[in-house]
Amino acid sequence: MNTTGQSLLLWTTPVAGVLFLFAFFMFPGFSPPMSPTMTPEEVAAFFQENVASIRGVVILCNIIGALLVPLFAMIAVQMLRVVNSSPVFAYSYIIAVGIGLSAFILADFAWGVAIFRPDRDPQLISLLNDMAWFFFIAPVGTMIVQNLCLAGSIYLDARPDPVFPRWVAHFNVLAAVLMLPGAFAFMHKTGPLAWDGSLSFSLRLITFAVYVAVMFCVLLTIVNRQVEHEGVAA
Amino acid sequence: MTSAVDAVTAAGDIDAKKSPAFPGESSMWFFIIGDLLIFGVYFVAYMIYRGQNQALFLHSQQFLNQGIGATNTVVLLTSSLFVALGTQAARVGKSVDAYRLFGLAVVFGVLFPFLKMVEWIPKISIGITPGENLFFMYYYVMTGLHLCHVLLGLVILGFVMRNVRVSKERSHPPNIKFVETGAMYWHMVDLLWLVLFALFYLMR
């Protein structure tokens, strides 16, 4: 197996990271995040005032979502090297990534359609905005299952020299737990669990950012080790 | 009356005694019986819903083309005959005959979807679609589902022919279990159409 391609794809992750930071500070809806208590008229006014920046972010997020796929695909490839009795964890992981990514892209599209004609009926703009937030929350569930599958396959790795170090499993469980409160945003309009709250929004996004950064470093090491130990050409 | 036919015609059979107690794979019979039950539920439900609105059903039925329906019945019966004869031939190892007979069955089988299109397209083009009323919903769903069975059956017959051809070329007997399994499916397709024809085209 040649790992040049693996390394190359892996480096799309920092590109996504840079774009993510850029988008985060460019989108006024995210700094500070829009409140779920805004009335349809307020939402419509907000979109009308920030047309250019939101539009930019919608396009960027579309790309960011896709740029993160290679990282998850790399994790899946390495999961398939882990020795369990079957590839069931890796397959679950791949399907869950597909679901989570589609939800993220749908969120992005809903915002994109809202900003395409911001002078639409405020009710419709507000509906699209709500829909976007709903789909933005949805990947929480798939991330939890993804992380637990990865953790499970690491814990059960039968190799004497495991593919992933054990702490990665603990780290994945921790990240899953920290992202979990995000799912409760449907039930709260104010407070830390609302979609702009400290638990559902800040904690979740920080966890996700740290998670991506850490997994990037982990995979970098794994790919390098694969080169070293197995003599696969880099 | 069927036993009388048996007595008269059994002498002409190529080799009736070689027929097995359970033609084809037994799992195919599981499928056939289940499929017959599923269609049976739909047929009975059709009769019940028809009873609630006789006038609508009677009026809508007039738009169906009985000629094509009857032709398609004969087409499927003929195709079924060739499949049955082909199975008999395959059973006694006459691969060349079997191959020709299955070929004829496929030729007739292909006529069915063609005639179905001749029937459907003018209807749809004058605006008679499944959304027209309950009768036409039933008509399109049932004939469409049956058509799916026909198309699947043609694929299966194709595999049966391949099996027979290979046996012809290598001059060993064909895989009779597989031939029978495919044949049973094709007869079931025929069988379902016989009921469909009566229920949709003919009854009042």
């Binding site: 369990n84 020299d161 449907f186 | -």
Partner: protein, 264 residues
């Protein structure tokens, strides 16, 4: 909807599958963890769609606007959304179990990869999206009745009318079972799975009929399909249980100690 099938096979059986080995050292532990997550998922799934949201059994497409509005604003829908969001990832696990069995069959890998692609799309458009359509109405009760009616139609049609992905998936599964020479799953299950994929075709009428037997709450388009689907889901699950249990040791990837250099 088909929860509670776990009663017939108890957790103890899986633990004693290998004689004298504690459950946590079972070589098939990964498969068993995923396997037992399925009843958990289906129970949650049933909870979300039936007693929490009362979205199922389906309401009539012919309902009057006030009825639709009242339903769309019921606050339980938001709890249902939360649970579904948390549980949706488990649908991936359930489908991965099927994909793993397909890997053991003597068929091309294209079957399991196409199956996995169908599972991804199906989870979004046939499960998450409809629930969100209902949740959106409950989240902001101030929406116009027309918007709520739109979400109502969108929700039900995508839930019950989502047939392409599932037709694909069940056909792939059925075909794989029938073509398989290793007898991983029984042949009759393959035929039963064909009916299951045909019921998906029956559901096509919900996009047309607004009332009667072919509407999304109709006798033929919904209830009859349920009569076929619910036992199928349980039977296929029991068959997968047997397949995992009877999988011979030597077939397992972790059966032999892995030598250090045996990578790639």
């Amino acid at each position: 909807m088909s929860g509670g099938m776990s009663g017939s096979v108890t957790a103890n059986e899986t633990c004693t599958a290998q004689q004298g080995v504690p459950w946590y050292k079972n070589k098939k532990l990964d498969q068993w963890i995923c396997f037992w997550s399925v009843p958990f998922f289906y129970n949650l799934f049933g909870l979300v769609f039936v007693p929490l949201s009362w979205m199922m059994p389906p309401r009539s497409p012919a309902n009057a606007t006030p009825e639709i509005v009242a339903f769309m604003q019921s606050p339980n829908l938001l709890i249902a959304c939360t649970i579904l969001t948390l549980a949706l990832g488990l649908s991936a696990v359930g489908n991965a179990l099927y994909a793993c069995q397909m890997k053991r069959m003597s068929v091309s890998p294209v079957f399991r990869f196409a199956f996995m692609a169908g599972a991804m799309v199906g989870a979004i458009v046939g499960c998450l999206f409809p629930m969100f359509c209902f949740g959106l109405g409950a989240f902001r009760p101030g929406y116009d009745p027309e918007i709520l009616a739109l979400l109502y139609d969108f929700g039900y049609l995508s839930f019950i009318g989502c047939l392409g992905c599932f037709f694909l998936n069940w056909s792939l599964l059925a075909l794989a079972i029938l073509l398989d020479k290793n007898n991983t799953l029984p042949k009759w299950l393959g035929y039963y799975t064909i009916w299951q994929s045909v019921t998906e075709l029956f559901a096509a009428t919900v996009w047309i009929a607004k009332s009667g037997p072919f509407a999304w709450d109709g006798l033929l388009a919904f209830w009859f399909n349920m009569v076929l689907y619910v036992p199928w889901q349980m039977i296929v699950y029991i068959c997968v249980y047997r397949a995992i249990k009877n999988q011979p040791e030597h077939e397992l990837a972790n059966a032999q100690p892995v030598p250090r250099a045996a990578y790639a």
